[in-house]
């Protein structure tokens, strides 16, 4: 088996593999920077919570529209935004910390979603919603994912400066009237739509994987914010590429394969990355930096 057969053949031969790869590319472009901001804002768990929050909405869409793209996407976005809003409200009105209120809402939504799908659909439908089906992406889904990636990158370009300040020093942004609350809300909305995009490919349980793992790994390679975003996107794309190949050659489910490759990249970064990795901290440095 040549390298061509191993790495490029499957994509050249099968349209569904090509579409899956393009889907991964679009997802990687949007999820890289969004995931980077989530990690930097210490909101990784919130990303996780929001990804599960998408499920009951998608399930409602499924009940009313079947496996239809617009119905499930709209439902997912609606549910995700609702959970973001409600948990923000609980945090603001009570002393409960934001991560705890997000965790509460995500457990509730996950249970509700599974209940909705199980009572109205088959186990196959449930598996589809939970784990996605990137190999079954059609053109409409591809356009949706691409549109969401485009929207995300454009919004981030506009929001970049206030978002950076809101992450770095929210108190300062408040005193100079920088609309930090608005920026935070728009950012959460971007997280939700990106999760809905990823949900089409990877399902609710795996959607956040392509967002968080590369962003967490990038931290061990570069320092600057733009570089973190770029490395996250690159790692996400590489994970998509290798994960798809793995799932093709070894006949594994594609969503988990992609996320596991991203997980491997994460472990490799923790161990061997040039910045703050275990190797950099404990092995190669003879004299500690002054």
């Amino acid at each position: 088996m040549t390298l061509y057969d191993l790495a490029l053949g499957p994509f050249a031969e099968f349209g569904f593999m090509r579409r899956a790869l393009v889907g991964c590319l679009a997802l990687a472009l949007g999820c890289g920077p969004i995931g980077t901001f989530l990690v930097i804002r210490r909101m990784s768990l919130m990303g996780d919570a929001l990804s599960h929050a998408v499920l009951p909405g998608a399930a409602l869409g499924f009940i009313f529209g079947g496996l239809s793209l617009p119905a499930m996407s709209l439902g997912g976005v609606g549910a995700g935004l609702t959970v973001a809003l409600l948990s923000g409200l609980v945090t603001r009105l009570t002393p409960l910390r934001e991560d705890a209120s997000f965790a509460a809402f995500y457990l509730i939504s996950l249970a509700l979603g599974v209940l909705l799908v199980s009572t109205h659909g088959s186990n196959v439908d449930l598996l589809h919603l939970l784990f996605g089906s990137i190999l079954a992406i059609d053109d409409a889904t591809l356009i949706l994912i691409g549109a969401i990636a485009t929207l995300s990158l454009l919004s981030l370009a506009v929001l970049y400066r206030p978002l950076v300040v809101e992450c770095f020093d929210p108190g300062f942004l408040r005193t100079v009237g920088g609309l930090g609350g608005l920026v935070h809300t728009v950012f959460l909305a971007l997280v939700v739509v990106n999760l809905v995009a990823a949900f089409q490919a990877l399902g609710t349980l795996m959607a956040v994987g392509l967002m968080m793992l590369p962003a967490a790994a990038a931290r061990f390679w570069v320092r600057e914010l733009w570089a973190l975003s770029a490395v996250s996107s690159a790692l996400a794309l590489a994970s998509g590429f290798l994960g798809l190949l793995l799932s093709y050659h070894l006949d594994l489910p594609s969503g988990p394969s992609i996320v596991l490759v991203a997980g491997l990249a994460y472990f490799a970064s923790v161990l061997f990355g040039p910045r703050d990795s275990l190797r950099a901290l404990y092995l190669s440095r003879q004299q500690p930096a002054a």
Binding site: I40, F168, D169, G171, T175, G177, L225, L228
Partner: protein, 273 residues
Amino acid sequence: MSGSPDSAVVLHDVTLAYDGHPAVHHLSGAFARGSLTAIVGPNGSGKSTLMKGMVGLLRPAGGRIRPAGLNGGIAYLPQHAEIERRFPISVNQTVMLGHWRRIGWARAATRELRGRAHRALAAVGLEGFERRPIDTLSAGQFQRVLFARLIVQDAELILLDEPLAAVDWRTSEDLLRLIVSWHRQGRTVAAVLHDLDQVRAYFPQTLLLARECVAWGPTREVLMPQNLRRARHMSEAWSGEAAHHRPGPGPRRAGFSACPNPLPASGESEGPA
């Protein structure tokens, strides 16, 4: 009734509550334009709360806080800045944030604005640190960076909440010198401080706060032993109350003399002077 045009901030019978508990009671007075005032008082005496009220982060539960028309707004350095110290941002970028009101979301950072940031860094003794990531700085160096950002903000009113709390002797000397230089430039500066020697050495005006105003005026007169004793006495009263919190604003106050009010008395003066 209305504050004189010589006041940068006028407080009219201001009551501020923090987390539902009243922390500053019926404070009246004014920060004169161009004044340099130290705000001192025991822990929990409402100093930080007063700062937040003046910046506008906290709405008064009673009374009015009226900042006069101030050029360049208010520059405020909070006590525990919610700053993410590990954020991947450089010293220069942090200082450039001081230009926020001029550059906002999308306007370009011109050469002139960059020049001002550069000079501000030189003024705080951090020339050459421009490209350093902030997570490599010591606490003192980082405080200098925040002071450089204050310089860049170029505000007429500068409020500092314990600016010298976590810095070494040399840094605090340098920063105090900067504060005094702002005063010389005609800016209005108020700073929460703990070290009374520093207050006596550098601050012409002092507000001694113990939830209520104990004394407000020239530092030498305010920091008299009897005033300090009274502030301590009042703080013991409320630490005792802490067990069954929410002290009523009314009854206890009558026993103390009201603030020697630098304003022409604003209608209701409380208690005998």
